[in-house]
Symmetry: C2
Subunit: 436 residues, 2 copies
């Protein structure tokens, strides 16, 4: 049936896991016109970003240009722009700098993701950067590599040790993965490359405020992860609060209320995320109140209360299932994206609506390093080599483009056999010598 009226306009904000999956799912709905808005021109496979930060992969290996992904989907277009405001009553988006001109929508899907949460200590972010964007990853890579370069030149032993000390705040999957990867860089990759320092002296401290790392995993896997991390040379300090971060030092408070200062030239932050500021706009426009981490609560079909054709999915949304909010994880965003696209598609064509959204948890994984990981797949719990292989296969399968898969597989195989890391470039601001 040819539709003679103007096509239904769907606007998706954000080309991450949620937004891109929604856009792709609309492929089958030719009677809709889809615009995917993002301020970046690529989808980023964030679960592997820590490998860019530690020199194992290049940014392009874990990114896919949005235009390339949607090239053959004739009902979809990509708009590179940054949303400044959302006008729910007027059904339009406004952009920063007033350019391009406002974009009208019939259906809106907000999948703008999350940003770092410094829990009120926003001044820490310059000292202890987080890991969300390609730029973050490259700047962390430069910091880590430059610390070793500076240590090689340092004659004062105390200062040298400080340069070779890394503190990672936050014992979730990203913190564990970063700590494990830095351990590999220090104890394996760089092993024979310096002449004046012994990289075996590197100290890597993983600080977690709750009593255990990887809190979302069952106790036995948490134990295994702790064992494996310790074996890799990472010092795990759980149940310890960070009370102050200053340049090159972290003050922590242990469970018995003692304060301790760790002197470290490199401090990284993976302790929490909060929803994108677009959630605040949705809250203001709809009157719905944000949750504790700034996420916007949504209805059972992922729509905004009182706005059945405005949806929020992924990290920006708080979806309650079985009485608990779903975690801010890629699989949740992907499943929500596909669900909402299907719902909108059916609704516009007037066909039977799909059943309500239900998140199917297929498992959680975290990698620690070479041949070491933990995986909780629900029906089976894995650790060590088997978990690591599972992690590898799943991550390769979920990479967006064919080329990325082959490139990443090749780089991993190379790293596995040589313990080398090819993408160890000190680039960008401050790449030339500026150590003082």
């Amino acid at each position: 049936m040819i539709q003679h009226n103007a096509p239904h306009r769907v606007v998706i904000v954000g080309g991450g896991f949620g937004g891109l999956n929604a856009a792709q799912r609309f492929r089958k709905c030719r009677h809709l016109q889809v615009t995917l808005v993002d301020r970046r021109n690529f989808h980023l496979f964030q679960p592997l970003l820590y490998q860019v930060a530690t020199g194992a992969l290049s940014p392009a290996n874990i990114a896919a240009p949005l235009r390339a992904v949607l090239r053959h989907q004739r009902n979809a277009e990509v708009l590179l722009a940054e949303v400044a405001n959302i006008d729910l009553a007027g059904r339009k988006l406004l952009f920063h700098g007033g350019h391009p001109k406002p974009l009208s929508f019939d259906t809106l899907i907000v999948a703008a993701g999350s940003t770092f949460n410094y829990f009120g200590h926003d001044h820490w972010q310059h000292i202890a950067p987080g890991l969300k964007s390609v730029e973050d990853a490259l700047s962390i890579r430069t910091r880590v590599l430059k610390s070793f370069e500076a240590a090689e030149l340092e004659t004062d032993p105390e200062r040298r040790q400080q340069l070779m000390t890394f503190v990672i705040v936050g014992g979730g999957p990203t913190g564990v993965e970063l700590a494990g990867a830095i351990a590999e860089v220090a104890f394996r990759t760089l092993k024979q490359e310096f002449r004046h320092i012994n990289t075996a002296d590197t100290r890597i401290v993983l600080v977690e405020a709750t009593p255990t790392i990887l809190g979302m995993f069952p106790a036995d896997l948490r134990e295994k992860a702790l064992e494996q991390l310790t074996r890799f040379g990472v010092e795990v300090r759980a149940g310890v609060m960070v009370t102050e971060i200053e340049p090159e030092r972290v003050v922590i408070r242990t469970s018995d209320h003692q304060h301790e200062t760790v002197r470290a030239a490199t401090i990284l932050w993976t302790a929490g995320v909060k929803a994108s500021p677009l959630a605040e706009i949705l809250a203001r426009e709809s009157g719905v109140e944000l949750d504790r981490t700034g996420r916007i609560p949504v209805e059972a079909d992922c729509s905004l209360k009182g706005h059945p054709s405005v949806f929020a999915i992924g990290d920006i949304a708080s979806y309650t299932q079985d009485g608990k909010p779903l975690p801010a994880l890629a699989p949740v965003a992907m499943q929500q994206g596909r669900y909402v696209a299907q719902l909108v598609c059916h609704r516009v064509s007037g066909s039977r609506l799909p059943s309500l959204f239900h998140y199917r948890d297929k498992g959680t994984m975290a990698t620690i390093g070479r041949s070491a990981a933990v995986a909780d797949l629900g029906w089976i719990k894995l650790s060590g080599f088997l978990a690591w292989i599972t992690w590898l296969v799943v991550h390769i399968l979920f990479l967006v483009q064919f080329q990325n898969r082959v490139m990443v597989m090749f780089q991993w195989a190379f790293s596995y056999f040589t313990r080398g890391r090819a993408a160890r470039l000190i680039t960008g601001e401050g790449s030339a010598q500026e150590r003082r």
Copy 2:
């Protein structure tokens, strides 16, 4: 024989083709202590930098960490530092910011390369960037991709055409390669990716001041190159002087003294190089006068006049052979680096000195695009597909690390069959929407 006196200290400034080849050649001279000084922690395979600038390769694909390359060479170390001054009388190097402390040498090899030459118009460099570093390449990549993004949003047809016009100043190999690669991006890679512009309307203008592009090639190959470039959609303007560059416009003077303005949002500069500023220090210290492009003339053994254990090689040196100065090309630097290392090695061990340096020209090549190139190998002249295959093989062989070779080969194969370019990320400063 164990040497009981202090080892002879060789310091090499610059980890490019000349410096790295010299350092590696010292592998066989265990009685020497080698320090390779560079302000970057990697060797960069500059001949492929234009492929990073046009999104075909990632920086790490054409870079090799210096420490990794020299890891097993126990008599060599890498020093990440920027040279501020050279004290020939005191036989030591001084570094920027006074850190690290001065480095003494017995033998010095200066291989600091070259930088852009704007021929007195240094203010043009912000408008028309050149291509020497990873940062240059990434910033050009961002500029080129953002131009198309801005054109997609532009409603004024004249302004849209300006956004889709690219001027490349300089018809040497780099200019030809950049022009050809941008043509491929515009006419092939991006072909189906936009919805409001037709990338076939892209205008690519290659401006050369001398009467022909690729002046160093024989006339028939220059003709072929021109033919191939034109077929790819590049507008070649030879015998045309650039008289003014302003933001988004270039004024050129044709051979009949007419002035013409080309409106182009992207202007790139490949029109010339001059020696690194370290040449001036060598000139001042030795009393030798620099040549027209700032290069330091050297003796028949690449040493500085009056300083038999101070050498200058590669782009920074002017070496006269058969009455003509050698060109600033990678093979010259590589052969000089190996020669000087051998000379120093023999001299220190007291064995017979090698014959004087003589550059063996193995040929010159330039690629234009998919299946199109020219190659003058002396005994044979090639153009088109055969020249292109030769170019591919030679460049793969000369890439420094095994992993780089495989990665680049794979990416090229992928691009060849899909006409895709994976590394099309808009990153760094100004990557978010800042079009006005």
